[in-house]
């Protein structure tokens, strides 16, 4: 009170502020700080976008060639004396002729086609032609004959897979300089290829076999495809979805809505958060010890892979489900309880539908994470070399050995032939397409469920 009465008018009368039309020092400073911060943000986003563009660009540039493949179309005479010496078309006899019986026929067929087309070359022996086409050609022709014995004795047009060097030459990966020390192909072969391309005998076409096919041996990259690994990944995702969604949602609903708050539930909660941060390879070793060594499930099986990935995905699903349950306003629960709904009716009629979009998004993010996971699969042997096509191959079921897309990509990237490097990039494109599809499904489902209200 004494202060107010003391004669200090300068303290009590506020200093007059400057004109509003002129920004003062402090305001200027604050505005610059804000502008500076916005600039930092734009730079950060720009760097992120730049990385994304570089990443996507390099994936697409390196991976797109894997989706095309060079083929050489030549007439092959299926000589009866060689393929069916008895002439009775008995399947058992036909089977006795191995791929070694077919190889000379193909070599001669290619050589004749080259000579008939008037292609000039110093290569004159049938054996020289082997460098042009895939080593898988005899096996493919043989299976054609076994499927249809009527073909024996006729001349058929066969589309042979080009050898990986020929394929690379058409794609620009292999050049005349780069083959100088290559023992598998000579400049003379490339001369033939050049002329074959002009005559339309060799062509680069879309490579369905890459999308639907199986893995191939180290020396035949042109034959390798990611199809079987895709089936393996798909089976695993089915297992993960069928286990992680119901278990995760049930666990979260119980923990969030029913469980009493005590040290035990606190402990469980902390451990779920911790599990989400455990390196995936640990889950791989756990799966190896529990599912394969203890429970005796087969190695390399999508079921085991799915179980391991379920363990890995569960914490993600539980955490996101609990977060979306928590986000449902408590007033809705009170409203339902207030009209006499039981706890379970409250949860299932009101809380769960409101939380569903979040639960779905969390689950699909968990699935996407599981789809791209490699490390645990290496430990349980999900890098099986599966060279048989589905649906009749061994990669047909949940318990038969299979591979998975990321494991297949990892396998390919280890191999020596640069053609495999290209396939690895191609595999990454397929994997990314899968992930994008799943994310789009997540968005669509979320929209659908949100629109119901």
């Amino acid at each position: 009170m004494t202060d107010a009465t003391s004669p200090t008018p300068s303290a009590s009368v506020p200093k007059k502020k400057g004109s509003l039309l002129v920004a003062d020092e402090r305001t200027k400073k604050r505005n610059t700080a804000e502008k500076r911060f916005q600039a930092y943000g734009i730079i950060a986003i720009g760097i992120g976008l730049l990385f994304l563009i570089v990443l996507l660009g390099s994936i697409i540039r390196n991976g797109i060639p894997a989706f095309t493949q060079a083929y050489i179309t030549v007439p092959i005479e299926l000589v009866e004396e060689k393929l069916d010496p008895n002439g009775n078309r008995d399947p058992a006899d036909l089977r006795k002729v191995s791929t070694f019986g077919y190889a000379p026929l193909i070599q001669e067929g290619v050589l004749r086609a080259v000579q008939d087309a008037g292609i000039e070359t110093e290569l004159s022996s049938p054996g020289d032609m082997k460098a042009l086409y895939s080593a898988s050609a005899p096996a493919i022709v043989r299976s054609m004959v076994l499927d249809n014995p009527e073909l024996i004795g006729t001349t058929i047009e066969v589309r042979l897979l080009g050898a990986s060097r020929v394929d690379g030459y058409l794609k620009g990966r292999v050049t005349r300089e780069s083959i100088a020390r290559d023992k598998k192909i000579d400049a003379a072969h490339l001369d033939i290829v050049d002329q074959m391309v002009e005559l339309g005998m060799a062509k680069r076409v879309f490579n369905w076999a890459f999308i639907t096919g199986a893995d191939a041996s180290e020396s035949r990259p042109e034959q390798a495809g990611i199809g079987v690994a895709m089936v393996g990944s798909f089976f695993m995702m089915l297992v993960v979805l069928a286990l992680a969604l119901p278990i995760g949602v049930a666990a979260s609903i119980y923990l969030e809505e029913f469980a009493p708050q005590n040290w035990l539930t606190d402990l469980i909660e902390v451990n779920i958060s911790n599990l989400a941060a455990v390196p995936s390879i640990v889950f791989g070793i756990l799966g190896l010890a529990v599912f394969i060594q203890f429970a005796g499930l087969p190695q390399s099986a999508p079921l085991v892979g799915g179980l391991v990935l379920t363990l890995m995905t569960l914490p993600t699903v539980i955490i996101s489900t609990r977060a979306s349950l928590k986000a449902v306003p408590p007033s809705i629960r009170e409203a339902a309880l207030g009209v006499g709904a039981s706890k379970m009716q409250t949860v299932f009629h009101h809380v769960l539908p409101l939380a569903a979009p979040g639960i779905l998004t969390g689950t699909i993010i968990g699935l996407a994470q599981a789809l791209g996971e490699t490390a645990p699969l290496l430990l349980i042997g999900m890098v099986g070399f599966i060279a048989t096509n589905y649906p009749d191959g061994i990669a047909a079921g949940f318990l038969s050995p299979n591979s998975a897309m990321p494991a297949q990509i990892y396998e390919w990237s280890k191999r020596a032939d640069p053609a495999y490097y290209e396939r690895a990039w191609g595999g990454i494109i397929v994997l990314l397409l899968f992930l994008m599809t799943m994310n789009i499904i997540a968005i669509i489902l979320r929209r659908r469920f949100e629109r119901r209200w």
């Binding site: 306003p329 709904a341 209200w453």
Partner: protein, 265 residues
Amino acid sequence: MDDLRIIERTTGMNDIKVSARKVQVYYGDNHAIKDVDVDIEDKTVTAFIGPSGCGKSTFLRCINRMNDTIDVARIEGEITLDNENIYDPKVDPVQLRAKVGMVFQKPNPFPKSIYDNIAYGPRIHGLAANKAELDEIVERSLRRGAIWDEVKDRLHAPGTGLSGGQQQRLCIARAVATEPEVLLMDEPCSALDPIATAQVEELIDELRQNYSVVIVTHSMQQAARVSQKTAFFHLGNLVEYGETGQIFTNPSDPRTESYITGRIG
């Protein structure tokens, strides 16, 4: 305030609907309600008034056992509804809440259609045998909630799309749809404007014909306008309980007088 009208409104004795004896509520270590004894009459509006944190909402929530959903809450003493102890271990709170409806402070319609909001309670309690009966219940409840005329053309529009006052009347209609015997209202008008408040207050007066209504309110004018009996809570104690007219004109406890005249609270 029209004091005369309050005195005139004094009603004769009704049956006792809800009776509380020595009720104690603890939130953990906090003793929130101390020794509350109260008899709530049937077909009467009873108002609970008192400063914030005095325990009036807590006590209200004891009457339909909504406090059960709070883990740390512990209730002692006895509350009877028609002479049956509602805290008897044999009582299922779900059955109790069908008899004791509740309207909350903030309008909280389900994010569903207006029709489904009303029909939800009757559906889970099996009050309607078929669609026609359910339609009838929905219409009757919306009429009782004094909102039928406003929503009859858009029963399948979302309930959350209504205005605040309409939402609150929808919630009241939802509460009466299950045919409760007691209706608890926890500050039902605190989120509403004066016009919506007037509509809801009128509605509360009409509801008195059929129900025992207990209303918690911060507004003493509102308590004076709508209630026949008033209970004043302070620091967890029930200080005074009696005819509304007597509480507002001639309180016997000095604390009540201080609160009503604005000296505490």
